[in-house]
């Protein structure tokens, strides 16, 4: 599976011990220390890096002792303008699911203390023992069926969980589950379909459709115009003639094809 080359990621080939030593020698101990920390995260047992980091940190401390923090060289702002930390909580009841891949879901949720208290109150004697859970439902049309429960513990958070089955439509709800099995949902996610992990049905009798081609030059927005279909043709007597091409199966000559 290929991935995008993505311009903005300069792979960290310059984050080397050699580069850290150069920065240190050039009087930039903070840059040297930064590279050392990144490399130590990958190679925590590297004594040479650790020694260099200590030297760089000592140099930074020495530089700080003798002077006040440097003033900005110009009237430019420091760092990103308008930067603020994000709120810890929004004071709402919510739950959301995202399909990470055919086998994993990502969930985040938040339930307010007031909502939890009200739900526990509603459960009466069982309220104190009720557990906050994420319940997954099969969500196909109007039908719903419970698929799985996951204990949450915290009133807000995020977590990965195994997906019930590739290709399944699911919905989630955060709620309280009483010891006797009564479930009070407190927040619902949107519905989603977990991506399938393999080819769909071998039924190849697709319907066909004709769409009017876009006109050629200088057009304004024009609607997609379905001219005909979808129509499912009569089953052919011997089945459709299908391409048997499978990428990578046929090997071509590797010779340079200068024609």
């Amino acid at each position: 599976m290929n991935n995008s080359s993505r311009f903005h990621t300069h792979p960290a080939e310059h984050q080397t011990e050699e580069m850290a030593r150069r920065y240190f020698a050039e009087g930039l101990p903070d840059r040297a220390a930064e590279i050392c920390r990144q490399l130590l995260a990958l190679h925590p047992g590297d004594a040479g890096l650790r020694e260099l980091l200590l030297q760089a940190e000592a140099a930074i401390a020495t530089a700080r002792q003798g002077r006040l923090p440097p003033l900005p060289a110009t009237d430019e702002p420091h760092g990103m303008l308008d930067l603020e930390e994000l709120p810890e909580a929004y004071g709402i009841d919510e739950c959301e699911l995202i399909a990470r891949d055919p086998f994993h879901l990502f969930a985040y949720w938040e339930v307010t203390a007031a909502t939890l208290d009200a739900a526990r109150h509603q459960l009466g004697d069982e309220g104190a023992q009720a557990q906050l859970i994420l319940r997954l439902f099969l969500a196909s049309g109007a039908a719903t069926r419970e698929l799985r429960d996951l204990a949450l513990g915290e009133a807000r958070g995020r977590r990965y969980l195994p997906a019930p089955k590739p290709g399944t439509p699911v919905r989630g709800a955060v709620g309280l589950l009483s010891p006797s099995g009564l479930f009070i949902p407190l927040a619902h996610s949107h519905g989603l379909r977990i991506p399938p992990s393999e080819m769909a049905s071998p039924d190849l009798r697709a319907a066909w459709m004709e769409v009017a081609p876009a006109r050629t030059v200088g057009q304004e927005r024009e609607p997609v115009q379905i001219v005909r279909g979808p129509e499912r043709p009569q089953p052919p007597e011997r089945g459709p003639q299908l391409p048997r091409w499978r990428p990578g199966v046929i090997s071509y000559s590797s010779k340079s094809g200068n024609h």
């Binding site: 993505r6 311009f7 903005h8 308008d82 046929i250």
Partner: protein, 528 residues
């Protein structure tokens, strides 16, 4: 008469990075490096083919953030200064390498290259978008759009927010290219159920998917990957051809890893003593890529210190060889497919545009050779654009594509990962709040309030960019990506607070409009 078609698709995108509050901003270099390495060299190739009357058709997506930056006066001025700096460095390098014929030759090579690019940039008056628009008008390029800020649709929750990514993109395209786009590159090829309906509503005729997105569709596409399929809403899905992608992309088997090609990592910005390179790197002494790279890949696993000097003639010959090999393989592939289909097969080969020139320095030369060979050296393969293929074959099978992306693993694991998943709760909250604000003011608002609502839309769009999550996952420039998400959401929340309180700080709003100036004609009612 050809037996089949090849659609080359180049996806050009950079995140919106513009910091007028700073005289020098490290991440703005992404744009300047890409103009120098990719967008100008590709333009040079397209114009050269035109000049030599070589018929060609290539599809290019230009994302709205990139389009906006290429049209921005401040960034254009800064780019011109960047190019001048390169020319000064070239002069310094000619002097420094005077006693060494190998490196003197390379210094001269770069000096001539940057002079040529400057001449081209001056000739088009810095208007790259205008130059690409002309190529589309001449029928050489089909330009398509991309999600407004490269928002990855599978993680955008609010339907109105998804719609806004598509609609705003189409408007941006119209403003730049003077017509409505026919196709779209879904960011990261991220297809989510229902996305095709948004595209149909926006009048878009086609999009691209990774191969498994179509192969796993319902029902299975009867013509496989080598013909488009219509989604039930009538929009055509074109699938990426696996083999031709691998020949170029694959780290192990791909062309760019050939030992003759220029090495990306070894750069003068990291090689010269600080005192010598200081005028050409970050003012704080942070070493950066300068574009002067004197070494070649040499071989797999070779340490940077042991690379051999670059030889432009050898690399050029290798690019010609690889173009021939690529074409040879496409001919065999098409001959094989043509015998088994009721129509001419189509091989769709999409790549990030920045692969050509930035990562793979000889990539534009490869394309130049390839397009000339296709035109003159054979008759099996012809180039085509998606629009022209649909005009020739307006009847196609109907398939419901499967959720997918072209990221690692084929789904969302790059953008939904422990390194970046904290984003979504906050972005989704802003999406929901934007919808509420827009619905509240559905029937209009006074001018100041309207400006604040529009700016809130811009901040939300910028926070939704898939680039931030991608950068967090890959582990480079993480601090910048984290700060960008937090800053855009903080600006959004402040606008929300001020709109709710009925008091808007006009001075701050004006400053914000001047800084995050993407999409000047945005209308907040898209989120209603």
């Amino acid at each position: 008469m050809s037996r089949g078609y090849l659609a080359i698709v180049l996806h050009a995108h950079l995140p919106f990075v513009r910091h007028p509050e700073h005289r020098y901003f490290l991440e703005e270099n992404w744009l300047y490096e890409a103009i120098t390495a990719t967008y100008l060299p590709l333009l040079e190739v397209w114009q050269g083919l035109q000049r030599d009357r070589v018929p060609f058709q290539v599809t290019m997506s230009i994302s709205p953030p990139l389009c906006s930056m290429l049209q921005d006066d401040l960034l254009k001025q800064r780019y011109a200064a960047y190019l001048d700096r390169l020319l000064r460095l070239a002069a310094d390098e000619r002097r420094r390498t005077a006693g060494d014929p190998t490196f003197q030759r390379l210094a001269n090579y770069y000096g001539e290259r940057f002079s040529r690019l400057k001449t081209l940039y001056d000739r088009i008056s810095g208007d790259l978008i205008g130059a690409y628009r002309q190529l589309q008008f001449d029928g050489c390029l089909e330009l398509i759009t991309v999600g407004a800020t490269h928002g990855y649709l599978p993680v955008i929750r609010q339907p109105e927010a998804r719609r806004a990514q598509i609609e705003v993109a189409c408007e941006n395209y119209h403003r730049a290219f003077h017509r409505h786009p026919r196709g779209i590159w879904l960011p990261e090829c991220g297809f989510a159920e229902g996305a095709d309906e948004l595209l149909a509503d926006a009048g878009l005729r086609f999009f691209f998917m990774d191969a498994h997105g179509l192969l796993h569709g319902r029902p299975r596409p009867p013509l496989g990957l080598h013909a488009p399929a219509f989604t039930p809403s009538g929009v055509a899905a074109f699938a990426r051809d696996i083999e031709s992608s691998k020949q170029v992309w694959s780290a192990a088997e791909g062309y760019p890893g050939d030992g003759a090609y220029r090495d990306f990592y070894r750069d003068l910005g990291f090689d010269l003593p600080l005192a010598d390179i200081a005028p050409y790197i970050h003012p704080d002494g942070i070493r950066v890529h300068t574009g002067f790279k004197y070494f070649r890949v040499t071989g797999g696993g070779i340490d940077l210190a042991h690379k051999l000097p670059y030889d432009p003639d050898l690399a050029r010959q290798r690019a010609a060889d690889h173009a021939g090999n690529f074409l040879f393989n496409r001919e065999r592939q098409i001959e094989h497919l043509a015998g088994q289909m009721d129509r001419k097969p189509l091989v769709v080969s999409p790549y990030d545009a920045e692969l050509f020139g930035h990562w793979w320095f000889e990539g534009p030369q490869f394309l130049d050779f390839l397009l000339r060979k296709i035109a003159f050296d054979q008759t099996t393969v012809a180039l085509i654009t998606p629009s022209n293929y649909l005009a020739e074959y307006p009847t196609n099978a109907v398939v419901e594509p499967s959720p997918s992306s072209w990221g690692d693993g084929g789904y969302s694991s790059v953008w939904v990962d422990p390194s970046n998943d904290w984003i979504y709760r906050h972005v989704h909250r802003a999406e929901a709040r934007m919808h509420e604000l827009a619905a509240m003011h559905r029937n209009g608002a006074d001018p100041l309030r309207r400006r604040a609502l529009n700016q809130a839309g811009r901040e939300l769009l910028l926070a939704e960019s898939s680039d931030w999550a991608f950068i967090m996952k890959t582990g480079t420039s993480v601090r910048y990506a984290v700060d960008r998400v937090k800053a855009h959401l903080a600006r959004f929340r402040r606008l929300d607070r001020e709109l709710s309180a009925g008091w808007i700080d006009e001075g701050w709003l004006a400053d914000l409009e001047a800084r995050d100036n993407i999409f000047p004609e945005l209308d907040y009612r898209k989120w209603a």
